[in-house]
Symmetry: D2
Subunit: 177 residues, 4 copies
């Protein structure tokens, strides 16, 4: 079971990317999780579709080859980052070739505040429902405050969060199977 | 009265950019409308804030110098384009220096389908309310189908749409005054 | 295959209720569709849960006994009607006894305007994803203008709409099976 | 300065209603705050508009007579309660007689969980922007956990919350003036 994971933050020390890095150790047997790189994508421009950018095609190929998708996102201005939406826009194109179609998807997010990216994820749910994914509704993962969950090296140390993540990965696995 | 206009599409022949180009001829006396360029912005990365990119700073300066803002957006995957959100994310940063604060804002969008970007604008309304703008609620401008409103050269020719836009610009002007 | 259908409008001549009435004739073999009555529900009050109202319990029982759910909703003030949300609130309670959990759900809506209830359905998608349903993402059914789809007796006469609905019912049936 | 306040919960011991009861003691001089009763409204049915229900007309009259509106809402199923939406639907009707038009509106919500009704308020912001209100964007009031803010008698005792509310009421007052 091959899962692709996408972080909505490009920051090297991003808590959301750190969250994704913690997942393989918590995953059920047989699940491999690979983090995609969305930092080199150009800004989406429909004119560029004729010669589809290699970085965008690589993202599409990785999603299509995967059995499921995990997205961990920060919340910027009560929505998802433009960076993440830009990646989704590329992966949904060209018309009729939406790479997310039919994929089981699990969402999560961690923030330094108490909302845990809940509002951002509400936008993301609408987008991914439109993209015809099999979107996990429960459990929701609105995690934080981030600074209490990770150690100084960016390793997830909070046991309750680990248990929540392990359980959520089992739900995702059941959707894939 | 100096208005900055932002298009959510980078496509040269974008209907939404064409919509913005039609506005000066419909604007009330004393209103000038300048279209911002968001195509050269890097993907937002919080690490880059220390040396704030010149293109992002130029966008912030233009918004702060303006008396009001107009955004015309396409709808991608039932939300706003990543490209537009990326521009908004830059303009809202660094923390405590949100360039949109207090600005009157008018939204519009045109699509080839019948929804006229209504769902995308619903996300944009949440984002801009968070950014503490004075957001025009009525009239809503869900325009289209695009191919019936513009001629082959990209000029807005539909008289009813022109009248709607002129009226909306007056509402914006009243918010600025 | 037993489907329960809920209309977001209480109006006797509601186009959305008329849409639901048109479905049995378009349904795949073996699918029966029964319209629920939500007009007699009290306004939700958590204090009333101890003695759960009979009308609310009947709605819960009907949803739980069904293999899938169809909701047809008008759009009121860019969201779903309070009447429909009130029915959903009852069916989701008491805590831990959400009657929608795991159910395949198909959404549709018809309006006299061109938006076809798209914005209302975007709220409904968030709500139903939270309620852990298996929510059909595609096709979307944003139908209208209503007055061109039905005859004076409230019968659906538009052939393209009938074909769209028949196809959507097959997608729902595949989720149930 | 006459403010009408609406609670999204009908429960007698509702934390959100308790929040509204705490406001007069925190309000700037000259601001009076009256809590509306929405518990006796019928479920909205467009057929009933011809003989507009007295309870609904009373709500409309109270909103129209007010200089501003405060809404405190719980979150049910990641949206606002049906009960609150039903009240808004009545107040927005009949067509062309939206009682909220132009009113300054302040939102708040308290929950036992950590989200503080943020997702519910995101729906409410879309609805109220459509209804052409002057919606306060900042500060946002996502309050909780409720059980730590109130004493056993339902009195707000948390000093930080009181200070936040007092500041928000000043922002509302500035919009009214």
């Amino acid at each position: 079971m091959n899962i692709i994971a996408i972080s909505g933050s490009l920051r090297k020390d991003s808590f959301n990317t750190a969250l994704l890095r913690a997942l393989p150790a918590l995953a059920p047997e047989g699940m491999t999780i690979t983090i995609a790189d969305i930092s080199a994508l150009p800004l989406f421009n429909q004119e560029s579709e004729a010669a589809f950018p290699a970085t965008a095609q690589a993202l599409k190929d990785a999603i299509e080859a995967a059995d499921g998708v995990i997205i961990a996102t920060p919340e910027y201005n009560r929505s998802i980052p433009g960076v993440l939406k830009n990646a989704i826009d590329w992966a949904s194109r060209p018309w009729g070739q939406n790479s997310f179609a039919g994929k089981p998807v699990l969402l999560m997010g961690v923030s330094v505040g108490k909302l845990g990216t809940a509002v951002a994820q509400s936008h993301l749910r609408q987008i991914l429902n439109y993209l015809d994914t099999q979107l996990v509704g429960q459990p929701e993962l609105y995690l934080g405050p981030a600074q209490e969950l990770f150690d100084g090296a960016g390793s997830l140390t909070d046991e309750a969060t680990k248990a929540s993540l392990a359980k959520a990965l089992e739900v995702l696995a059941a959707r894939v199977a």
